[in-house]
Symmetry: D3
Subunit: 238 residues, 6 copies
C-alpha cells in the first residue's frame, strides 16, 4: 500500500519531518511518499496562504495520478486546504491532518484542546471544528504565537511554550487530550505526551492510520454527486 | 464611491450581466467596476473550480490595489470563494454574494430557500449557511441541474425550471423568500419575484447594497489578528 | 424614498439623536422621518417596557399607514420590540436595529461583541442572537450598568465606560468588531471606532442602509402566511 | 394555594373552558382563579395579537397583585405572551402553557409533535421551541387551519381534523406524544389521547401541575437581575 | 396515588433522606415508597457505578411490578441511570431527578448552574443537559470535590463548600437558579436557598411534583416503538 | 498487538462473524481475540438489553485485565454499551463500533445514512450521533424491521431488505455513504458496497483499524478525571 503525504508548503525540512512522522506509524506493508510544491508559500499562516495551498494540493495529486496514483492521500497542513477538491479527484481515501487529529482525539476521552502556532489561524481551526462536528468535543483553541517556520529550529524555546500551553489547557479547560495544530509539531508529539500526561495527537500520524485503515477496509471517497469527478478536471493546472 | 465587483470565472458575458445587476441598485454616487480573470475556470461548479477562483480573487484585488484600490469589493460567485483571503488584503468592506443574499433574505421574513444550479454545489452552500449562521433560516437547498453557462442563453428553458423550483419551495418548504444561488441568475430576479409572489433575492444586488451601506457608515473590515495583512502578501501572485 | 424610523420610547431627545444618525448615512434621495409615541415608557430597559414598546410600534406604523405609509421602517430600539408584528402590517422592508447591527457586524470579520446599557437587558439580546443566527458570531455580551437616559447627558462618564468595555472585548474576547446595544449610543459610534480601532456598528445607521438597499432592490417583507395581514388588523389600536 | 390562570384573550367561553381544565388537575388544596381582559383581541392568532396579549397579561397580574396576589400564575395562551414580563413582576412561579406542555411532553418519551390552529402561528411556536430547548424533542409542528374561536363550537368538525393530524404525526413523524397548541383545545385532550393512543398533553393542565409543584417545593421566580422588579413597574398600565 | 422512589445505590441512610424529601412535597393523597438495592455500588460516582445502577433500577421496577406496580416512578440518582430502560417497562410516568431538576430550574428564570459532588461526574451531567435540551439554559457545571457518602455526615463542612460554589455561580456565571447535582443534597436544599438568595432546586422534590402532576393529568410514558415493552423483558433479571 | 473484540450479547455465531470481520482488516501483526458473555441478552435490541450489555462489557474487560489485558478493545454492539465505563478501566484505546463507523463514514464524503435493525433502536443511535458530533453528517437513520438474530440466517431476505434501504438513502437522502447499524451485518458489508455503489462502513472493521492505529501512535484513553480508575473498580463484578 502506498500513501502519498502532501505538505502544501515549500519547506523541504518540514516535508522530511512529516515523512518521518508518517513512517513512524505506518506498518511494514505501507510505503510513505512525502511531497511538497516547488513554488508557493513557505508556510501556511493566513487565508491567503491557504488559497495557494489548495491549488498546490490539486496540482500534486494530479501529478501523482499521472504516474499511477496512490492508495490514499494525507493532506499535511492543519487547515486541511484543498480537502474537498482532493476528494473530487480520486476514489481512494483522502484525509486532512486536522480532521484526523480531531477524530482520533475524540476517541481518547470526552474533550480535547487544540494548541497551534499563530492566533490568526484560529478562525480557520474553528471552521474545521464545525465542519467535522467537533465543536462540543473541543474545549479550547489556543495560539502560541510561534510562527510555523520557527518549529524547524529544534533548539528553540518552542517546545516549552507549547508544553506550557498544553498543561494549561488540561488544568484549566479540562482537556482530556491535546491536538497539535501544525504538521511542523509532529516531532514534538511523544515528548509532549510524556510531559503533559494526557494523550497528545499529531495529525500526520493520525491521518496515516486512518487512511491505512480505510484502505484495508476497502472504503474510499464517495463519488456520489458532490465528490464526483469535477467538470474541468485537469484543465486548470499549470 | 467605487465598488469593484469580482466575477472569479472567465465568462465575459456573465461579468457583463453581473455589472448590469450591480448598476441597477447602485445610487448615482456609486461607480461599479466589474472584473474577471483572464484565465481559469469558465464556471465555478466544483470544489476544484473554487480553489482556482479563490486565487483569481486574490489576484484581481491585488491588481486593483496596485491601481489605488476601491471603496469596497463584491465577490460575485455564490460559493464566496476567497472571501476570507480578500478580507486579509483590504480594510474596506468585502462581501460575498451568498453571504449578502442570505443576510438580506433573513430580513424579509423567517425563512428562505436557496435555488441553485448543479446539485454538486449544495455541499458548499451548506457550509456557507453554517458559517453565516443561517442554518435555521434556510428551509431548503435545491439544485435545478442547470449548468452555470446555460444561464447565458436567455432563450433556454432555465427560467421555467428555476421558477418551478422556487414555487415548490414556497409551497412545500414554507419558504418566505428565495435566494438565487448563482450570479448568473441575476437578470432573472425580478421576473421570478413577479411570478413566485415572494421576495426573490439576487446576491449581486444585495452585496452592492451592503457594501455601499457599510462604506457610508464608515465600517469596513476588521484588521484585528485573523484579517490583518497576511505574512506573505503580494509575494505569491503571478 | 421615505424611511420612517420609530423610536418606541417617549424621549424626544433620543428621537432627535436617532434621526441625526439616520440622516448621516442616508443618501440625498432618502428622506428620514423619525417618530416616537406620546405616552409609554421613557426608556426600554425591561421585558415590561418591551411589551409596551411593541404596542407603540404597531400604533405608530398604523398611523403612518393612515397617511400613505413609507418605503421602509426602522425600529430604533435594541430589543427590536414589535418587529414580527410590524412585518405583519406592511409589505415594505422593516428592520430592527439589533438585527441590522448584528448582520452588518458579521460582515466585518468573524466575531463581534455587544456592549449595551443595563445587564438586565442581556437576556433579550441573547434571544435576538439566537433568532438571527448570530450565536456563533457573537463572542460576548456585556452590560455597562449605564441607564438608557443617562446617555442623553453627553457630558457624563458614559463614553469612557463604554469605550473601556469595547477595548476589553477586543482584547480578551477577541471581538473583531463591536455592536452598540442601544439606539442612544448612536452619536458615540465614530468616536468609539476611532478609539477602539475596530469597526463599531451603530444599529440605526446599519438599519437605514439595509432598508434603503432592500427598497432599491425591490425586496420587502414576505406576505406568505406568518407575515400576511393579521386577522384583527387596525381593530386593536387606540 | 391559589393559582391565577390568565387567558389573555377576551373570550369568556374559552376562559371557562380553561378554568375547567385547570380545576380538573388541581388537588383539593388548590384554588383556581381564571381571568381574562375586558378589551383586546378575541383570539391570539398573530404577532400583532400577541403584542396586545402581553400588555393584557401585565395588566391582569398588576390587578391581582393589588388584591394580594396569588401563589402562582399560569399564562393560558400557547404563544406564552408576556411571560418574561410577568416574571419581572412577581417572585412566585409563572409558567406559560406552551412551556409547560413542551416540558411535560419531553418526559413522556423522546419526541413530541405540536398540533395547533392556524399555520401562521407556527413561527411563534418555533421560537418557543428554541427558547425552551425543545428543538430536538419536537419532531413536527403542524397547523390544522382551524381558527381559535371555532374551537368554541364543540359540534364542529375540529375534533376529527385535529385527531387526524395527531395520528399522522405519530405515524409519519414518529412522535411519541402530542402537544396541543392552543388553550382552546383543553377539553379535547382526553378524547384525543384515547383515540390516538399516545400521551396527549394539554398545556393548561401541565402548567397548573408545574406551578403547584413548584409552590409546594418553595421554588418561585428568580429575582436576580433580568427578572428583578422593572424600573417603571406599575407606571405604564392604564 | 403511590409513587415509588428508587435510590439505585445501597445507602439506606441516603434512601431515608430521599424519602423525607419526597414526602415533604407530596400532597396528602400521594403515598411515597422509597427503595434501594441490596447489593451494588454504595454511591454512584463513575460510569462503572452507573452501569450497575441501571440494572438495579430495572430489577427494582420489576419487583414493584410483580407486586402490582405504582402510579409513577422517580429515579433518585443525578445521572438518571436506567431511565430509558425504566420507560420501556411501564406505561406510567418515570422521571429522573436530573431531568426533573433541570426542567423545573428552567422555569425559574433564564439560566441555572449545576453544583454537584465529584468533578468526574460532570461529563455525565453534560450528556444529560444535551439529552434534555438544557445546554443553553445551563450556564455552568461545577464539582465540589465532595464524595457522595460524605453528604451523609450532616456535621461536615460540605454545606459551606456547596453554598460557596452556589454563590460563585450566581455571582460570576449569572445563574438565575441552582440545580443540586446529587440526591444526597436534598436535605440541604432549603437552607441553601435561604443563604444563596435564588431558587435552589432539589431533583427529588422536583421529580415527585412532576410525576404526581403527570399522573393527575393521565399522562404517562408513550409506548410507541422505542419505549414499548422490550423483547426479553423479565428474562434477564436475577 | 492484541485487540480484544467484545460482543456483549451471548450469540456465539455472531461472535464468530465479528471475529472474522475483525481479522479481515487486521494486519499480520495484530492478534484478534473475540469474546462474549455466558449469560445475558441474546441480542441487544432495547434499552433494557443495553443495560445488561454494559455490565457484560465491564465484566469481560475485568476478566481480560486479570489475564494481562490487551493493547486495545473494540465494543462490538452498535449502541456502544458500556463505552464510558470501559474507558474508566483501562489506559489503552477503547472504541465502540457505532463511534468507529460514524467517524470513518465522515471521512468518505459529507454525509452518511445509518441503516439498522429494529426501529426501536433508532433513539439510541440518535443519542450516539449527538454524543459523537455527527448530527450534521448523518442525513438519515432507518430501521429495516429485521431482528438482530435473523441476520444469523444468511439465506434470509435480510440482504435485499437492507440493500434496498441503503439504495433509498443514497437516492432520496443524498447519503454519500452508509453506516451499517449492527455488528451482525459485518459479513454483508462488501456485497452491499458492490451493489449500492457508495462506501459501506462496517463498524467492527472500522473500530479495529482505529484501535490499531491509535496503538501504533501510542495514543490511548485519557486518565484525567472522568476516565480515571473508578472508586469501586473490581468490587462490583461477579
Amino acid at each position: 500500500m502506498r500513501i502519498t503525504v502532501i505538505n502544501p508548503n515549500t519547506s523541504r525540512a518540514m516535508t522530511a519531518k512529516i515523512a518521518a512522522a508518517a513512517r513512524g506509524v505506518a506498518g511494514p506493508d505501507v510505503e510513505i511518499v512525502a511531497v511538497c510544491p516547488e513554488s508557493g508559500p513557505a508556510a501556511i499562516e493566513s487565508h491567503t496562504d491557504e488559497a495557494f495551498a489548495a491549488v498546490a494540493v490539486i496540482d500534486l495529486i494530479e501529478r501523482d495520478l499521472a504516474h499511477g496514483g496512490s492508495d490514499g492521500y494525507v493532506l499535511a497542513c492543519f487547515g486541511d486546504p484543498g480537502l474537498d477538491a482532493a476528494r473530487e479527484l480520486v476514489d481512494v481515501p483522502v484525509v486532512g491532518i486536522a480532521e484526523a487529529a480531531m477524530h482520533v482525539a475524540a476517541l481518547t476521552g470526552r474533550s480535547f484542546a487544540v494548541v497551534t502556532t499563530l492566533s490568526r489561524t484560529l478562525g480557520r481551526a474553528e471552521d474545521l471544528l464545525v465542519r467535522y462536528g467537533m465543536t462540543s468535543a473541543c474545549v479550547s483553541l489556543a495560539g502560541t504565537g510561534i510562527p510555523v517556520l520557527e518549529l524547524e529550529d529544534t533548539t528553540s524555546a518552542a517546545f516549552d511554550v507549547i508544553a506550557e500551553e498544553c498543561e494549561r489547557a488540561v488544568r484549566e479547560d479540562r482537556a482530556d487530550s491535546i491536538v497539535l495544530g501544525c504538521a511542523g509539531m509532529a516531532d514534538l508529539c511523544h515528548a509532549l505526551g510524556a510531559r503533559v500526561g494526557v494523550p497528545v495527537v499529531d495529525g500526520v500520524a493520525a491521518a496515516v492510520g486512518l487512511v491505512a485503515g480505510m484502505a484495508r477496509m476497502g472504503v474510499g471517497t464517495s463519488k456520489r454527486d458532490e465528490y464526483a469527478t469535477p467538470p474541468r478536471r485537469g484543465q486548470l493546472v499549470g
